[in-house]
């Protein structure tokens, strides 16, 4: 066998071996899973929020659960004040719990919040309801302290301690 062929085979083998390693690393790169955090940048500002229109929302994958969403129903929950400002949670018919407990959907880092403070869930018609879970300092919808589970109007601020959240389309 000629020297040239053997040299080509030797280098070819090394190239193929490295190609395998690189392909494997590419697979790892495309294999990220777990929690997705989409950065939205600084595009949204206070002005656009006051108009109630989400400015250039990113094409977030929104799995609509067919039938439950009505026209004009809110599609996301937005934290508009407090340490979690800007966080959004897609509304997909699930119950959203708020509080300092670690298993809450939105974990509030707030001295005025109870560990299981309030929850937000859809009733049978798809109307979103907020319910205070016997918190110490109360949950406020607009200006009124909640005493019973109440439906949430679009854009109405729900205040828990220093955190304000609202539902948006």
């Amino acid at each position: 066998m000629s020297e040239l062929t053997l040299t080509v085979m030797r280098l070819g083998f090394l190239a193929v071996l490295w190609l395998f390693v690189i392909v494997a690393v590419q697979v790892i790169r495309s294999d990220l899973f777990g929690t997705r955090v989409t950065q939205r940048g600084a595009r949204r500002n206070a002005a656009s929020r006051q108009q109630g229109a989400p400015a250039s929302a990113p094409p977030a994958p929104r799995q609509q659960q067919g039938g439950r969403q009505r026209r004009g129903a809110p599609t996301k929950l937005v934290v508009s004040e407090g340490t979690l400002t800007g966080t959004t949670v897609a509304l997909q018919g699930q119950t959203i719990s708020l509080g300092r407990a670690h298993d809450s959907t939105i974990v509030l880092d707030d001295d005025y919040a109870s560990s299981r403070h309030a929850r937000i869930y859809p009733d049978r018609d798809g109307q979103w309801i907020v319910e205070d879970l016997g918190s110490t300092n109360g949950t406020y919808l607009d200006r009124a302290r909640l005493t019973t589970p109440s439906p949430i109007p679009l854009g109405a601020p729900i205040r828990i301690g220093k955190t304000v959240i609202e539902l948006r389309k």
Binding site: T5, R10, F13, V21, V25, T87, T88, Y121, D123
Partner: protein, 470 residues
């Protein structure tokens, strides 16, 4: 209304796709590379494409296909990289062993010493088949890795028996790590490393709070209470006893290192690593002062080219020479002289052949393949939802990593040589079979970890609550 825009982010879940087709593609790649290497060896040594190439390719392909189909059927969400990486290493190991079988020097040596030469590659192919069979059995029988948690203390007993058993059998080449039953000899230490990882994870899962929280802070590190030192001292004593009575540095290091790694992972306390390093250092130096076998190994490590060491064994010297003559790009498959190592050229010292014939570039790729297996194991641990699975995945990856480090370090002269084998590549039945079982357990854990969570049950509260509208 003032608001900051620094926290603008959306939280949502991504389901992991099953990735079985990716695995299939990589597996085909992982079978083709060794077949190419096989042809390369034949062309370099005998000037012709070897006759056994088709049979070898089909054999390796069949093993990979069986593994893939079983994973596809019984662990559909498993990690897509573990099986191809293990297959590639096993296939390349087969080629390297076959290449050393072709060496006239080794054939002559075997005839002089034992009166006949038997090739090792067919045996290794058979061991690989048994290994795949065990891999399949693990996936079939072990439906959920948490079942292993029930056998925490039974596995401790089994592991102790496996570790102690070789003491009662005659030493082979100065180390008592073998058990012979009839015509078969097995290395129980290879299996013990899996079983001991099961025990450590079950034990630490229960005890980790006590070990992590009850401590005093001193000079920036947390010092554990005296009574919490009990387990680590017990394991340390065990590993020293292995070192003294079986004169096997490798198993001893693996055993103790595994415990320290898992202790650190379970408790997040750096102090355990400090303690572990101090204790293993003190233990090794202490034993080396009176154990001649260990002293020999240390001498051979410090002065591989001295006359006294060369008179006993020139293995390490030849191995270092092989690495040196390989250079950056290697001599090419079948064109090196690593067969000068003679004894154990295709088992403990197989990495010298890699270093010489693939060169530094190939060696790096080789170590990266091992690194990727370990990385996937640790990633599995991160994704696992139960603490036992997390600890077990870390433990198995750590055992794998420590073994690679101990062997590679020994052959390259970084640490004293120990009697361990390179996983998947080196010749030896116990090693191949045990490591396939290890990969099987990792695949089982990763399948459980990556399986999408079942759809949440409809919230009963939401249905029952009567909403009173104003």
């Amino acid at each position: 209304m003032s608001s900051s825009t620094s926290h603008t982010s959306t939280i949502g879940a991504i389901g992991a796709p099953s990735r079985r087709n990716t695995e299939l593609g990589l597996l085909v790649f992982a079978v083709v590379i060794p077949v190419f290497a096989y042809a390369n060896v034949g062309l370099a040594i005998n000037d012709e494409v070897p006759t056994g190439m088709l049979g070898y390719g089909i054999g390796l392909g069949l093993l990979a296909a069986v593994g893939h189909l079983v994973v596809r059927r019984f662990a559909p969400y498993a990690d897509p990289l573990l099986l191809p990486l293990a297959t590639l290493l096993n296939g390349l190991g087969l080629v390297l062993i076959w290449r050393l079988d072709q060496s006239e020097r080794l054939q002559q040596r075997a005839e002089d010493l034992f009166g006949g030469f038997t090739p090792d590659a067919p045996n290794q192919l058979m061991y690989s088949a048994i290994g795949i069979a065990l891999f399949v059995a693990v996936l079939l029988i072990l439906k959920d890795h948490r079942i292993l948690q029930r056998y925490t203390y039974i596995s401790m007993a089994v592991a102790l028996v496996l570790l102690i058993l070789p003491v009662f059998f005659p030493a082979v080449n100065g180390a008592k790590i073998w058990v012979s039953i009839g015509p078969f000899t097995i290395q129980p230490g290879e299996f013990a490393k899996i079983i001991i990882a099961v025990f450590f994870s079950g034990y630490l899962m229960v005890k980790r709070d006590a070990l992590a929280l009850a401590s005093r802070r001193f000079m920036g590190i947390y010092l554990p209470r005296g009574r919490d030192l009990g387990p680590i001292i017990t394991v340390w004593a065990m590993s020293l006893l292995i070192l003294i009575f079986e004169t096997d540095l490798g198993t001893s290091l693996l055993f103790f290192g595994l415990f320290v790694v898992m202790l650190y992972v379970a408790t997040e306390r750096t102090s355990w690593i400090v303690f572990g390093l101090l204790m293993s250092g003190a233990g090794a130096v202490g034993v080396a002062t009176f154990e001649p076998h260990v002293q020999q190994r240390v001498d051979a490590w410090l002065h591989p080219f001295s006359d006294t060491v060369m008179a006993q064994s020139d293995q390490i010297a030849n191995s270092l020479m092989a690495f040196g003559s390989g250079g950056v790009l290697g001599t090419g498959l079948g064109q090196g002289n690593s067969d000068l190592i003679g004894f154990a050229a295709n088992s403990d010292f197989i990495l010298a052949t890699v270093g010489e014939e693939f060169g530094l570039a190939g060696m790096m790729a080789f170590l990266l393949l091992y690194g990727l297996i370990v990385e996937r194991g640790v990633r599995t641990a991160l994704a696992a939802r139960d603490p036992f699975g997390k600890l077990l995945a870390v433990g198995l990856s750590a055992a794998f990593a420590i073994q690679v480090f101990v062997v590679a370090g020994g052959v390259m002269g970084l640490i004293p040589l120990t009697g361990m084998t390179m996983p998947f590549v080196a010749y030896g039945g116990s090693s191949v079979i045990a490591n396939w079982a290890l990969i099987g357990i990792l695949i089982r854990i990763s399948d459980t970890a990556r399986r999408p969570a079942p759809a949440p049950a409809p919230n009963p509260d939401a249905e029952m609550t009567q909403v009173v509208r104003p």
